[in-house]
């Protein structure tokens, strides 16, 4: 099975995990909208250069804005009908400074969770009518474990909120052919994690080494591996897998 004829939308598509997911979905034959806060022209051109027909398009959008998300969906609807596969992957890791309670400001909390949780809800709610109409849809969340020490509360609240969303949407819509899935991730090897370590005034390599030591396997998961797992779910034909959430954190929170 491949994804020819399917339209995908990947939020945060130009970031560490997003890039690999976009490339994977395009490789499977899907047309992929790369949704990011900035135009993802370079990635779109790179993907399209690999194939005889266009398999990627840029969908610049600030997903924290309802109006922006609505406008993006209108454009997609006009161009390709709608979204078959939605990857809710966008996030801002914040705030980088003053991120501990109670120093964290209400303004920073709102700003972060508006992207990390509300943005995904906007994208999901607008995707569902088309998926219902077609009787087929896949919605995937790049989530985080519900218990992760040291992670700023708005980021964690948003990402952990995906777990409930995944379960609810599956209960509510799997009978319509809309299946959901989430990886609750920690310890992913992306530019973001390096940025976070640096923002705390630490040497990046030392910080990564310290993270390795926390993991039972001493490894960080690579974005390509996440893209493979997403594809593994999208391509399954077993409805019983809808609503699956996998804690993927190297045993840091589960076994310690």
């Amino acid at each position: 099975m491949d994804l020819k004829g399917k339209v995908s939308l990947v939020t945060g598509g130009a970031g560490g995990i997003g890039v690999k997911v976009c490339e994977k979905l395009a490789a499977l034959g899907s047309f992929v909208y790369v949704c990011d806060i900035k135009e993802a022209t370079e990635l779109v051109d790179r993907i399209n250069a690999k194939y005889p027909e266009p398999r990627a398009g840029s969908a610049r959008c600030d997903i924290s804005s309802k109006e922006d998300v609505e406008a993006m969906y209108r454009r997609i609807s006009e161009q390709r009908g709608g979204v078959d596969i939605l990857i809710n992957n966008a996030a801002v890791y914040g705030p980088l400074k003053a991120h501990h309670f109670p120093e964290i400001s209400y303004g920073d909390f709102i700003k972060t969770i508006q992207v990390d949780l509300s943005g995904a809800v906007y994208c999901t709610l607008l995707a569902i009518p088309y998926m219902k109409q077609k009787g087929w849809g896949r919605i995937i969340f790049t989530a985080a474990p519900m218990s992760s020490s040291g992670i700023p509360s708005p980021y964690l609240a948003g990402k952990a909120g995906f777990i409930g969303l995944t379960k609810y949407l599956s209960q509510r819509f799997s009978q319509d052919g809309i299946w959901t899935f989430a990886l609750a991730l920690r310890h992913v090897d992306t530019p973001l994690i390096r940025k976070v370590i640096a923002s705390r005034g630490r040497d990046v390599e030392e910080g990564l080494e310290a993270m390795h030591k926390k993991s039972l396997t001493g490894k960080m998961i690579a974005p390509e591996e996440i893209a493979d797992i997403y594809a593994h779910f999208i391509l399954t034909s077993s409805p019983g897998l809808s609503g699956t959430v996998i804690l993927t954190e190297g045993g840091i929170t589960y076994l310690r």
Partner: protein, 235 residues
């Protein structure tokens, strides 16, 4: 990480509980992927079905039986498989006692039945691990998948009224115990390069083998290195 759809060719896998519905389904899938198989089940259990028509071109399949609760028997069978296949990369524990469970009287609680089920289910999982894991530790690599039931989480019987109410006591306790064995052993052996994960099956699992195989495939992929001791509950 290996591509989830490929990468098994030439690997060796021991399947305990090879005669169970799940054991046969998983064995067929792996055999088709070019995995060499050591299929093991209890000498008392469905020998006529021993992995049935498992076996595909390019996949070597060897069969062994073990005596329930006998450590020497488990060790001998595993050592024999490793000798025949050259190594063991994967271990699937699928003792799933469909036939045994049907013998249980749901209205009568009996310590004798408990002893029997405990031995055949919980102790045999332990003995299988005890026999196989040292082979994996020696090469600092291996992937283990426990196939269990969701009854330990739900407290309910499984499988369309075969076990209900009181009868579930046996199964629920065994199921949870297996989860405990799994997570405890995982903590000890994951740092030695061996992944440990689980699949918990809910009612009607026989109607959706694709789902079980999907989960097993996931845990045999590189994902197992990050989702340490995670159990996929397939209700």
């Amino acid at each position: 990480m290996q591509d989830l759809a490929r990468g098994y060719e030439g690997k060796s896998c021991i399947v305990f509980g090879a005669n169970s519905v799940v054991g046969v389904g998983i064995s067929k899938f792996l055999s088709q992927g070019g995995v060499n198989l050591g299929l093991i089940d209890l000498d008392s259990y469905r020998q006529d079905a021993l992995a049935g028509d498992v076996g595909s071109p390019g996949s070597t399949v060897v069969y062994k039986t073990v005596s329930s609760g006998r450590e020497d028997s488990f060790q001998e069978a595993v050592d024999g498989v490793v000798s025949d296949l050259g190594s063991v990369d994967y271990l699937i524990l699928a003792f799933y006692l469909e036939e045994e469970r049907k013998k249980v009287d749901p209205d009568g609680l009996s310590v004798d039945i408990w002893d029997e089920l405990f031995k055949e289910w919980v102790l045999n999982y332990f003995l299988a691990m005890k026999a196989v894991v040292p082979h994996m530790i020696r090469k600092a690599a291996g992937r283990v998948v426990f196939v269990n039931t969701t009854t330990g989480y739900t407290g309910e019987g499984e499988g369309e009224g075969e076990l209900t109410e009181g009868g579930s006591v046996y199964e629920c306790a065994c199921s949870s115990a297996i989860t405990g064995i799994m997570t405890s052993i995982a903590r000890d052996i994951i740092p030695k390069g061996i992944s440990v994960n689980g699949v918990s099956l809910g009612p009607n699992y026989e109607d959706d083998m694709e789902r079980t195989i999907w989960a097993v495939e996931l845990w045999l992929s590189g994902m197992c290195e990050y989702a340490c001791a995670q159990i996929l509950r397939l209700y």
